[in-house]
Subunit: 396 residues, 2 copies
């Protein structure tokens, strides 16, 4: 991420601190080369070795407190106004900085709900508590989740344009895949074809290459989150592919569905069309519900009920997730009220958020029908930033 | 990491569970594409999306409990004997599995001291506590730090051979750098030359490319952990480079020191030689102290005291760290008794561990002298796996 984008995000963070009336945001991390807090790229722009505190205040100050050998690098990166080094312990200087601001609340990087807001390890939390022992600050720690949800969720126009670029390139690749698929090619060969295009065009994949793309052909596949296999495309298969690229730091995440015509067919069988159209229409129905002020679970309800009322089993996951710099980004989901989703289904949708819409259903004996589109929440609704798939793609 | 290496490490983990009398090891994680527990590569071999529990028992059982859509992928990876999926919540099945073993202790992935043992986020810790609420297991949670320290620390012969390969290639690159350095080239140009060789040979760097290699020329540099700058090599400079490669999953981490001869010189000035030789000799002195049963801080003492008694300031960091699959690996350090190192300086050294030895000192008006070698702890001492630098390298 460029220095300019980081400074823009820090400015946005200051505004959100004021909006939420939190005096100080503390990102507390160590050895980011081994495991990196998901906010480091957006709010810092480099790595650290020892215990490090990155502080943003409501008044607009930015202070990095680092092991002494990390100081020169941080100054070169130049994203924080004050950079301090320590040698023996971070404790003294950290408390000195807190004393300077006497914050009402200190937002720290943990969250039960949101993994992008949960970069503080439990060991580091215990370390922080021991440093703050005997001060008033120990009781002022709150989760930075609501800050991060706002900061990552609300996309600037510049961010939306970058996301559209990634979508455009992904849809172009899907078109090329349509021409490549034929009976006899394996899931792995389709995946290699896609990754070959990425390499040629210098695109990173939006998630791990092992299952980006995910390719599923026919009735006996895993259907999601698994790597491609040696299974061959056959006539009469429904195929779906889940794929995205990361361009200029921003991810796309899209799914499309194909049908491989049998001898003598010139369109897909009724049950395949019914399954595909149910998915396609459930996305439009959910999108009509999606607007600021609603809860994620209400949008999931709309698609889930439509699919169940059409005679299919409900999909075993959420309708959609936010995306941005990660394929799974932001705090809120469009999720059902299941324990594994915690409080997330009840989060309120905000203008500027980017969501996927990705219901699925099984078409018995054929395969999985699923489409994934991307939308941006507007002032009074949402707008598609991917051109929705209207008809199932046919392979002759 | 290959499936065979993962299964070898899981077997080793079972032995360590027996040695430490801990019934069950629970690696509790989520969304590893955004932030990955440092043990995932060694003990799992793939990623997960939702809250996931990877369990290894003292009896040798391995159980993965995953969001349902991650199950197929985990079965394909094939590193766990049992793989279970859940849809709405991980809680019920997790408790059912714990009830099957009724473990005396449950080692979980948090640690105040060791970042490789601290992959459990604080939010996930709170989630786990809430799942275990009302059971006896809540009070049986212990840190898996001692398990991980043993598992990552004790290198098999196969692992040591892979580390030697990485060292060999690194030292070869240092030789080529000696021929490349001349007055007028910049730190950045030296770094580009090294990264060009890596690219040509298909080597990954051992840590982030932004400062791997780190290149420092002359008296006014950061001296460590900073990226290369546009500063030019001049006659009379001491230069040091910190660099390593990652080959077949294992890292090297080495430093070497050069001197750029001034007109009329055919060797380095006295004060440069004294600085270099002090570092070189401090490493041998520390290595003589390094053996199983000693504490890391005792080894650090030996080098630190020698350098201070030779009239230099003490170095602002630890003498050495473990390495392996990460450049900074394992639990123990050869560290001074400073608060920022927590309990780590007091950890006991074990046979089979790999350590760096990397003291440093400033040679006033010339630059930084530092050498980094790698050793393996043997039954009664240690053995160098890097060929130690004996003389300062001269640039004409």
């Amino acid at each position: 991420m460029s220095k300019e984008l980081i400074l823009e995000k820090i400015n946005q963070a200051v505004k959100i601190l004021n909006e939420k009336n939190i005096d100080l945001w503390l990102l507390f991390v160590r050895e980011s080369g081994n495991m990196k807090d998901p906010m480091m790229d957006m709010l810092v722009g480099t790595n650290c070795t020892w215990q490090s505190a990155y502080i943003i205040t409501k008044t607009g100050d930015t202070i990095a407190l680092l092991g002494s050998l990390d100081v020169a690098n941080m100054r070169t990166v130049g994203t924080y106004k004050e950079v301090h080094g320590y040698i023996k312990s971070i404790k003294e200087k950290l408390i000195e900085i807190l004393d300077r601001y006497k914050p009402n609340k200190i937002a720290i990087n943990f969250s039960r709900n949101s993994c992008v807001a949960d970069g503080l390890t439990h060991g580091m939390y215990l370390e922080l508590l021991s440093y703050l022992d005997g001060t008033d600050y120990k009781d002022r720690l709150v989760s930075s989740e609501e800050l991060i949800t706002a900061l990552r969720g609300r996309k600037s126009n510049a961010e939306i344009e970058l996301m559209k670029d990634a979508i455009k390139e992904t849809l172009k690749i899907f078109d090329e895949v349509t021409a490549f698929i034929k009976p006899g090619v394996t899931e792995k060969e389709i995946a290699s074809f896609i990754l070959g295009l990425c390499e040629k065009r210098n695109f990173a994949t939006a998630w791990e290459k092992d299952y980006c793309p995910s390719v599923f052909t026919g009735p006996d596949t895993a259907g999601a989150h698994a790597g491609p296999t040696d299974r061959k495309v056959e006539r009469g298969h429904v195929i779906n592919i889940d794929f995205g690229v990361k361009l200029n730091g921003y991810c796309s995440d899209l799914q499309r569905t194909w049908y491989v015509l049998r001898e003598g067919e010139d369109k897909a069988p009724e049950e395949v069309l019914k399954g595909f159209n149910t998915i396609r229409d459930s996305i439009q129905i959910a999108a009509k519900e999606l607007k600021p002020g609603k809860k994620g679970c209400e949008i999931d309800d709309a698609a889930r009920n439509y699919i169940v009322n059409s005679g299919y089993e409900e999909y075993p996951h959420a309708l959609g997730h936010q995306l941005g710099r990660f394929a799974h980004d932001g705090g809120g989901l469009l999720a059902p009220r299941w324990e594994r989703y915690g409080d997330v289904p009840f989060m309120v949708i905000e203008e500027g958020q980017a969501y996927t819409l990705e219901p699925r259903l099984t078409i018995k004996d054929y395969g999985i029908a699923t489409i994934e589109e991307e939308v941006i929440v507007t002032a009074d609704g949402c707008t598609f930033i991917s051109e929705p798939q209207k008809e199932i793609y046919l392979i002759k």
